[in-house]
Symmetry: C2
């Protein structure tokens, strides 16, 4: 089969980690007789520098025409000190999510046995952790009306959700739960927020369509606690945009494998795959960034966007092998062990596929 | 001196833990020649049962007349399954905060050397943790306009802040930082929210009045991560109501001493002291709840509301002694060690003051 993949490398270490994911994807395609056409496009700070906006129309068209999008990272320190600057890389991210209709962000958190001791949490707390957040990504307070009143002295943001928005996200949650241990947790703040009450009543009404799924409803503050205490007690969690932003980042550090976590954003028109880490500006150009999260994001793309499970498993298997054999970048170094460059890890993966 | 303290025991284990804090406070008062007049009042589920509302006017008047409020916990499982029920204990909490003008919730998180191994985090991650959150408590999305549109199909919540609200909270943060290591972290989501941009610009403008304080600005998702990774890298953190709800609960579990954490809510008319734990309905009446968080909340009251530092230190010292000697309730039991009842712990504290 032939697949067109929009390639949005972005800023900082984005291009370096994307490069390795491309090498591995091409090798997998060759092995399984697929053809990949990569269509590169600009996004983030590099797009601002080149054409003045972080998500150019041309990039949007390339994404819309592709079968999937592979994304690196965006952000540059020169934009960091002034969150109210008129043009910023993150705005491109939000615009891209909205225009591509990427309403569900899929964020797994799992442990790699060989990395478990990297976690700030004790081994017995995290062993067996394998959870997935489905974060709503195109609604809520991110996209509601916001502004100033009283000559700038009062600021406001509006959080809005419609029942339809909740249903389409929750549907993905129920479906995902059916493929796993059939446990779904709806995270809200229904004791305070009207939008959370809409979430809860909508999910409650859907329960009857998935009689095998056990649904629990927990307040966001309680989940923020239990994620640290007993992360392995969760399976699938669904939540709104802002709660998801906070909780998925919290969850990402518990496994000790943060630098390896992939993610997907799925929706109406296409789907996008990206590592959860950022653009890590200090490491730019040093060939030291860990490419595995991006490589594993490509594996998610093969499986979920193209339905190629065997190809995805082959990628995951070689990644596991590299970890077991210690073919890792310096962020995963155990003391005194030799470490490898970004491109060396990619080369090793290709050679050992 | 003579102090009038409104006593809001609340629901569940509230009355039991409050009882021990009263015993210890009376003993301290006697020792230091103060007189305490306790004025009990109803709040929470027990107030709903008795008079139909969770924060009766009579309770409000008792609080307004007192020099401080000592609070247990509210909540009862019979209200848990329906967050949209018209009358609920939490509404009393929100009304109380608003009517008493308790705009700053002070939530310390620190470690007790003897309890450090209770933490889900590794010892080396939490040793030395001693941070304080100042959570804004009477504004933001908790109190903004909320409702339904489109015949119930769309829900909305509004988050609003004024510059003056941010200033009075931030002022407390700067002042607190001055009494500690002079590090202040402003937690926001200024890359997305207009209210956060108001927070950030307001705090930035106040920096010049506190030249000794080093201020950092961090996004809420990054703080949710770093709290788990390096909690001991923080000192004073200031944030808005909803972020504070999530992050203070997350912070509370990292020290391993959650059952011991006190809190204060301070503001315009009075101040209120309460353990951070909830009403723990399953333990009600069993005389097994840990009273130390409430006892330590009373210590905060002596120090901050009445300016009685020596009295506060005496309470903290005897609590430390009880921990070192293993005079603890079953939640803190190390294996095979004898444990004590709620009232026995209180008796021991009184006897050893
Ligand atoms: C950069 C920022 C706008 C973004 C978000 O809040 O969604 C990021 O934190 C993320 O989670 O992808
Ligand atoms: C019970 C609830 C309304 C309350 C809050 O969200 O403020 C609680 O979680 C707290 O933190 O005191």
């Amino acid at each position: 089969m032939k697949y067109t993949i929009a390639l949005l490398a972005g800023d900082g270490i984005g291009p370096e980690v994307i490069n390795e994911a491309v090498k591995v994807s091409d090798a997998i395609a060759k092995k399984f007789n697929h053809e990949i056409i990569w269509t590169p496009a600009l996004t983030g700070a590099c797009a601002i520098d080149a054409v003045g906006v972080p998500y150019p129309d041309e990039t949007h068209e390339i994404c819309m025409k592709a079968d999937a999008v592979l994304f690196g990272a965006v952000g540059h320190p020169k934009f960091d000190n002034d969150p109210s600057a008129p043009v910023r890389p993150e705005q491109g991210l939000l615009l891209m999510r909205k225009k591509l209709g990427l309403f569900a962000n899929v964020r797994p958190t799992f442990t790699f046995p060989s990395l478990i001791d990297n976690s700030p949490l004790k081994r017995e707390r995290i062993e067996g952790t394998d959870l997935v957040f489905l974060r709503e990504l195109t609604g809520g307070i991110y996209f509601g009306e916001k502004g100033r009143l009283d000559g700038g002295e009062t600021a406001y943001d509006t959080c809005t959700y419609t029942r339809v928005e909740v249903q389409r996200l929750a549907k993905k949650g129920f479906e995902l739960a059916m493929t796993r241990t059939k446990k779904l947790c709806c995270v809200d703040k229904a004791n305070v927020l009207e939008t959370s009450r809409l979430w809860r009543e909508t999910v409650q009404a859907m329960e009857k369509d998935y009689p095998e799924v056990t649904v629990s409803y927990e307040f966001v503050d309680a989940v923020a606690m239990r994620l640290v205490q007993w992360p392995n007690s969760y399976d699938v969690l669904i939540t709104e945009n802002l709660f998801g932003d906070i909780l998925t980042d919290e969850a990402s550090v518990i496994s000790g494998s943060m630098g390896l976590m992939p993610s997907a954003s799925v929706g109406e028109h296409t789907s996008l795959y990206e590592p959860i880490h950022g653009s890590y500006p200090q490491a730019t150009g040093l060939n030291i960034a860990n490419p595995l999260a991006t490589v594993l994001s490509a594996a998610m793309m093969f499986e979920d966007a193209f339905g190629l499970k065997e190809e995805a498993e082959a990628i995951r298997a070689v990644v596991n092998k590299s970890l077991e054999q210690g073919i890792v970048t310096e962020d995963l170094a155990t003391k005194d062990a030799k470490t490898y460059k970004t491109s060396e890890v990619g080369d090793w993966l290709v050679a050992n596929l």
